[in-house]
Symmetry: C2
């Protein structure tokens, strides 16, 4: 694979991440509150969702400003206090809509691909 191809593919992946990472973060704290540093580690374990602190903290800030998540501090034995992020009721509602939208999108693309195989 030549450089040009690699570049355009990488770029596409970057674009595709837009919006997606936000969805990933929201889903990751849906079950139980997590703190930022932990989110980074968890998502980095998942293929293709790798995220760094420079990306996750801005996302968390935005989510908080939008009222989708709220935070609380808790002490830790192994380091500085942790700031946990948890969904607000509205965050949960929005996440639900987002997941639905995501599912629709997936089906839409799936439909196009099926036609491609005909």
């Amino acid at each position: 694979m030549d450089t040009v191809t690699a570049l355009s593919f990488d770029n596409w992946m970057t674009q595709l991440r837009k919006g997606l990472l936000e969805l990933a973060v929201l889903n990751s704290i849906a079950a139980a509150p997590l703190y930022g540093y932990d989110i980074v580690r968890r998502l980095s374990d998942v293929d293709h969702l790798v995220i760094t602190e420079g990306t996750v903290y801005p996302i968390l800030s935005r989510l908080k400003n939008s009222g989708l998540v709220e935070t609380y501090i808790e002490e830790s034995q192994e380091g500085p206090a942790r700031k946990y992020y948890r969904l607000t009721p509205r965050g949960r509602a929005d996440l639900h809509r987002m997941n639905q939208h995501w599912d629709n999108l997936h089906q839409a693309i799936g439909g196009l691909r099926k036609q491609g195989k005909r």
Copy 2:
């Protein structure tokens, strides 16, 4: 649903479309070449993939410059000549990789959601 929520949701959708529309366009010409105007109509029939000419032509240009698609002209009975876009071999290869990546991403998000339901 209040204005703030609607806005942030709309914005999120816009972000999510980045990269996605390119994938949709590529998949839509995978089976058979199509001309731009037709792509607009077809994708606009699909929920959530609605796309306008101002969006699709720039995408097609990029794809052509990247060597993923090539074009040929064909006369039409009902209007001006049509410019058909068709995948190049490399376009087909890239599309395959992109679809794989897309599938992985979908699984990754799906995994997070499953945990959320535990």
